[in-house]
Chain length 334, copies 2
């Protein structure tokens, strides 16, 4: 029954403070990671701010973990002790349903989240099923790798699982935590890459991230039929007709941003253009391992600002006002 | 310069009458078909009714043709003379763009329609590029095969081009000209098949068309997570949230009906369920040939009511009030 330290709050929206929390011992298939680094994702804010009734335990966010295996259950290869691993939003799945058995674990109805109903990665230690603690390959900087485990796998999914060809023309809408990785990945994937942004002030930075071209969102209607794939990382309501019109015949709009309003898709352009609309949330252990290997080979890494864990409230305040390029990483010990 | 007879109108919405029309001779790669049968599709009504200013030539619809090659250009194998062929909505493409050269001719920007700007299949003869006059395999009834060329390829596309597995659970919304073929195809494809209808009075007929189950559209919200693929042949606005909720994880809604209002898709169910929305209009020459062979092998054929061509106005009037199961076929000579 290890006692750990974790940065959390009991009241939704309150500043985080350091708590002592008792964890149960790792189960037979679990590992305990000592947290070295943990990225701060937008979705952590929702968790930190969530209104709740007098939580007995503090809520602890954090799901872009780089850590070291310091304890493991009886079914885990003891050689994993000491191993450097990454852990994302999902810390376990049932392993027995047809989705898990097909290697599509993200479709499992009984996913365990790293942060829901249990303390997450803004802590000295965090637990996960051994299959979701993904060994970090050589060549990745542990201080920067954390965001690959959430933002990275999120933007990898539209390229990898949809089988996008390196000959495709790919546009990325939004250049933030997700988008700055999508640009790098699509470039390394071999595609023609366009960064779509609201502000021309970002042009140089977008090109430096690997884009061949920069397109202003407000001028998207000048790009009819241009893109085989649009990866939309924005969660705002857009001029959806213009977005759809910029798809090439047979093209696909892949939505990642959690837009609060429904997306009204006109049927005729989809029918005529043989278009598709897809969406996804995260990725599987096998694909996460593929992503990490791909990033190590291509020198892809998140652009991060590293702060010590005890400055987490500063990081949260700055993220709330968009003052980060592109991800905060909190460094342990907690 | 052959002179043909064709059923058309000069004023949008007016009854059709028989006209003499002069065609240019077939080009080097064209064939002239003598029309034996031509199905009457809903989209013909739009063409017949379209408002136009004093058309010099009568507008002639009809794009579900079964006919015989009676003349051919210099580049056509002369052995095709006398061949029984089917012709659908498309009568030619540019053949030189990357889509045509990739075998994805329906994405070509310069498609020639069988009925737009030229007389269609409600005529004694109709012209087409040789590649779009698809030889009819043995084992298909020429009197019933016509609707396979439009309705048939339309519903074949979601199964074939999306690579649907025979293990999939497939639902078909709407049991009309398209739906009654989708049910038969999905059954022969090996899938678990559900027919979704607004009226329980159709239950016996839907089962006889190959469905394993019948589901009322209004009770779709009792079928959460049920379907890997929904083929929606309805052009009505539906309870889209219920439709999407009935998709299984990783499932796809394939829209064929030309719904006039945009489809509002909520992002979170799509992201969480890794869902997709697709749409398509028709299919390619190669896939049309595959469909015809598949139908011949499985004994799939449209349920049709055959009327002589000179009763075309009766057929149109009855189709307008939905009085057909499931397709009229007009029999030549015109």
């Amino acid at each position: 029954m290890p006692t750990i330290h974790a940065w959390g709050n009991r009241e939704g929206g309150a500043p985080l403070s350091r708590h002592a929390v008792t964890l149960t011992d790792p189960g037979p298939d679990e590992v305990l990671l000592e947290v070295l680094y943990c990225g701060l994702c937008h979705s952590d804010l929702g968790h930190i701010d969530e209104q709740r009734s007098a939580a007995a335990e503090p809520v602890v966010a954090g799901h872009e973990v780089v850590g070291r295996v310091v304890a493991a259950g009886s079914e885990v290869d003891p050689q994993r002790l000491g191993q450097l691993c990454g852990l994302g939003f999902i810390a376990g799945s049932c392993r027995h349903c047809r989705h898990c058995l097909s290697g599509r674990q993200t479709l499992c109805a009984d996913l365990e989240s790293t942060i829901l109903g249990r303390p997450g990665g803004f802590a000295s230690h965090v637990k996960a099923h051994q299959d979701w603690a993904i060994p970090l390959p050589d060549g990745l900087d542990p201080a920067a790798a954390g965001p690959l485990l959430c933002a990275g796998v999120t933007v990898f999914e539209p390229l990898f699982s949809a089988g996008i060809s390196p000959t495709a023309h790919v546009a990325v809408i939004g250049v933030g935590g997700l988008g700055h990785l999508a640009l790098q990945l699509a470039r390394a994937w071999g595609c023609q890459v366009t960064g779509i942004t609201t502000s021309s002030s970002k042009t140089a930075e977008i090109l430096s991230l690997g884009a061949h071209r920069v397109q202003l969102l407000g001028e998207l209607n000048q790009q009819q039929g241009a893109y085989d794939l649009i990866i939309n990382t924005s969660n705002h309501a857009l001029d959806w007709d213009a977005v759809v019109a910029s798809l090439a015949p047979g093209g696909s709009l892949h939505q990642l941003g959690l837009c609060a309003t429904p997306i009204p898709l006109r049927v005729f352009p989809f029918v005529k253009g043989n278009l598709s609309f897809r969406a996804s949330l995260t990725s599987t252990p096998a694909n996460t391992a593929r992503l990490l290997e791909f990033c190590a080979r291509h020198g892809i890494q998140p652009l991060v600002e590293v702060l010590p864990m005890d400055q987490i409230n500063t990081a949260i305040a700055r993220l709330r006002r968009g003052d980060v390029r592109y991800r905060f990483v909190l460094q342990g010990p907690a």
